[in-house]
């Protein structure tokens, strides 16, 4: 599998401080050949969208374990659209109740990846979504 040449921003929106998942996916994407930027904690959707647009990334991954995924996804998509960067896909990882996945996909998420998926499956799905 290769994500070579893909530029990806991994972001922690909101106040949630659980960052191990975001760090693991950052390192796994890097190992798979992608150029990855990790924002660190507590970034606003508007900041995340600006970095994504400035860095001209192919996709943004939001790591959310606080249950606020609906709101934070909507706000991030909104901010990207405001910057004319709606072409940048947004995927989500973290603690997502199984019953919420469909709604997030319908809102426009590129994919929803939880910690119980294998890293290989996650990377393959991303590769498919970005090709």
């Amino acid at each position: 599998m290769s994500l070579k040449g893909k530029r990806i921003l991994i972001a922690k929106p909101g106040l949630d401080g659980h960052d191990v998942g975001a760090k693991i996916i950052t390192l796994a994407l890097r190992d798979a050949g992608a150029d990855v930027i990790y924002t660190g904690l507590r970034k606003s959707p508007d900041y995340i969208a600006r970095v994504a647009a400035d860095e001209d990334v192919d996709a943004v991954g939001l790591s959310i374990l606080s249950g606020s995924h609906h709101t934070l996804l909507a706000q991030t998509l909104d901010e990207l659209a405001k910057l004319g960067a709606a072409n940048i896909g947004v995927f989500i990882g973290g603690t997502i109740a199984p019953q919420d996945t469909q709604a997030l996909l319908e809102m426009g998420a590129l994919g929803v990846f939880t910690s119980e998926m294998s890293l290989n499956d996650t990377l393959s799905a991303l590769e498919a979504a970005l090709s």
């Binding site: 106040l15 191990v20 660190g40 606020s68 997502i96 199984p98 939880t114 119980e116």
Partner: protein, 535 residues
């Protein structure tokens, strides 16, 4: 006759990497006599009578939405036989933002209750006798503020401060590493913690002003040995901070308490607690020259569940939590929180929260495992594991010392890096099927989320109502008194030798909000800068 041709079983290791022999025999033990409970080195427990003297506190972590909703859940849990409260606060309160703050907009009342000022605290505790119930708050960077608010609530309810019991987590060091609700840099944060410990000793001597927590680094990925090693290292950093103020070790050491996760390897978890008691008692006696025997007692609460729980086939988690609860009891925990089976993906429903509490009630009253002290004491395997766990923990502590101490290791992102390494290793093992997680990489079912229960839904109108209450209190309060209290806090913040606690209590009495108090301190102290990701 064919026994000699049978292949040797493959080597096995505990999750901390201790080799597990097929059979442990007495000659594999160092000192086969673990001593007696209630005596140095306390391997077998801190009390001579174990749970025959006093059962552990059943303390379910709970709180969500508004103070009114959480109060209702607390009364329900107390009616069901819970014996202590454990307050979960929302992220804005934990990170020092008021509910109106734009950065808080997505998270008001989400993972805990919103508690922006004294009026909310009074609603939260309405009808609960603060002199009779012990209350624990999972709060760290704003712990001194929430503690001040609790004292103010007790004052207003006419409950003497000296009768209060409970715990504030108040452990900032592990927030920088794993949980992420830091605000201020390390130095002023350590000052706030020392201020609150000194003040609690004077004002509310039965209240634990700190609960040094390994739970979060463990849940983030490190091993049981690292969980204890990092936590004891943090504990010693707080001890050193207080000693540097010239405070006598025996005046505060007995009020230090600890908090850990229990995961699934039952005997390793038991060994972890037995080894930790022994190491702590020896450190306090030998390195710190503590004279009061109470200073040597390693008292801890636990949470069972966390990242050992799965979203796949969630009812399986009931069995996991039951196993972990047995490990906690056999390890001699002072308080236990059993996670609900749906906690891997949502705030528990009333039904799942009740089942979690029943799990520990069944173990307490039906299993008989709490009826004699340290029933595993003298077990060849458990004593073998305890000795090896002690070695491993001491090596972790040495590694931190060699790096230059825990504060440096945290500020430079060293421990954070170790945790990510461990978490990746664990993920690789699970992905490769080397570590079996039932329902995730073995015995999966095609239909998704088999056994999935009731769905918890928050009231979508919560944020609006919480903000309305917040604005009302700011209109109603005596703003002259509030301004004066905040100003006094701000001018004391620049002087290291002033204890900020009485000033925070006055701010709370004056209905200053968490965001206002944090704002004053932030102006003087600045904010913590997260180290970059190291790998």
């Amino acid at each position: 006759m064919t026994t000699e041709t049978k292949p040797e079983p493959a080597p096995a290791f505990t999750p901390s990497g201790i080799e597990v022999p097929v059979l442990v025999t007495p000659e594999m033990l160092g000192n086969p006599d673990p001593g007696l409970p209630g005596q140095m080195p306390y391997t077998r427990g801190i009390f001579a009578n174990g749970f025959r003297g006093r059962r552990w506190t059943m303390r379910q972590y709970s709180g969500f939405g508004s103070a009114e909703e959480s109060n209702e859940r607390y009364r329900f849990l107390l009616d069901q036989g819970q014996t202590g409260l454990s307050v979960a606060l929302d992220l804005p309160t934990q990170c020092g933002y008021d509910p109106v703050d734009i950065v808080a907009s997505a998270e008001v009342g989400k993972v805990g209750v919103s508690l922006s000022n004294l009026a909310e605290m009074e609603v939260l505790l309405d009808g609960i006798d603060l002199g009779a119930i012990s209350t624990s708050f999972t709060i760290n960077s704003t712990a001194a503020i929430i503690f001040a608010m609790y004292l103010a609530a007790a004052d207003n309810a006419g409950v003497p401060r000296a009768s209060l019991s409970g715990t504030i987590q108040n452990d900032i060091l592990k927030e920088y590493v794993a949980r992420g609700t830091w605000i201020f840099p390390v130095k002023p944060s350590m000052r706030l913690i020392a201020d609150s410990i000194v003040y609690a000793n004077q004002e509310s001597p039965r209240f634990n002003p700190i609960s040094i927590a390994g739970a979060h680094v463990r849940d983030a990925g490190c091993t049981a040995a690292e969980e204890i090693g990092y936590t004891l290292a943090n504990g010693l950093a707080y001890v050193n901070e207080l000693l540097a103020r010239g405070v006598d070790i025996d005046s505060f050491a007995r009020r230090l308490s600890f908090f850990f996760y229990v995961h699934m390897d039952l005997f390793e978890e038991v060994a972890k607690f037995r080894a930790a008691r022994r190491i702590w008692a020896r450190l306090l006696q030998e390195r710190y020259d503590a004279k009061d025997p109470r200073s040597l007692l390693f008292r801890f609460g636990v949470v069972c569940g966390g990242s050992s729980l799965t979203a796949a086939q969630p009812l399986n988690n009931v069995v996991r939590v039951g196993t972990e609860t047995m490990a906690a009891v056999l390890g001699g925990a002072q308080s236990i929180f059993t996670s609900a089976y749906d906690e891997a993906f949502q705030i528990p429903t009333e039904q799942s929260a009740e089942l979690a509490l029943r799990t520990q009630q069944i173990i307490s009253h039906e299993s008989g495992i709490a009826d004699t002290v340290d029933p595993l004491g003298g077990s060849y395997y458990v004593e073998y594991l305890t000795d090896r766990m002690e070695d491993k923990i001491l090596r972790v502590m040495q590694e931190i010392d060699d790096y230059g101490g825990v504060v440096k290791a945290i500020e430079e992102g060293y421990i954070q890096m170790r945790i990510v390494e461990r978490a990746r290793e664990r993920k690789r093992q699970v992905d490769a099927g080397q570590r079996i997680v039932v329902g995730v990489n073995r015995y999966q079912r095609d239909e998704e989320h088999a056994g999935f229960g009731e769905v918890f839904r928050q009231d979508p109108d919560n944020r609006r109502r919480i903000i309305a209450k917040y604005e009302a209190i700011r209109d109603r309060r005596d703003n002259v008194r509030t301004e004066k209290a905040l100003k006094a806090l701000a001018s004391a913040a620049i002087h290291d030798d002033v204890n900020l606690m009485p000033l925070l209590v006055e701010c709370c009495h004056a209905y200053a909000t968490v965001g206002e108090m944090v704002g004053e301190l932030k102006r003087h102290w600045g904010e913590f800068q997260e180290p970059p990701l190291r790998a």
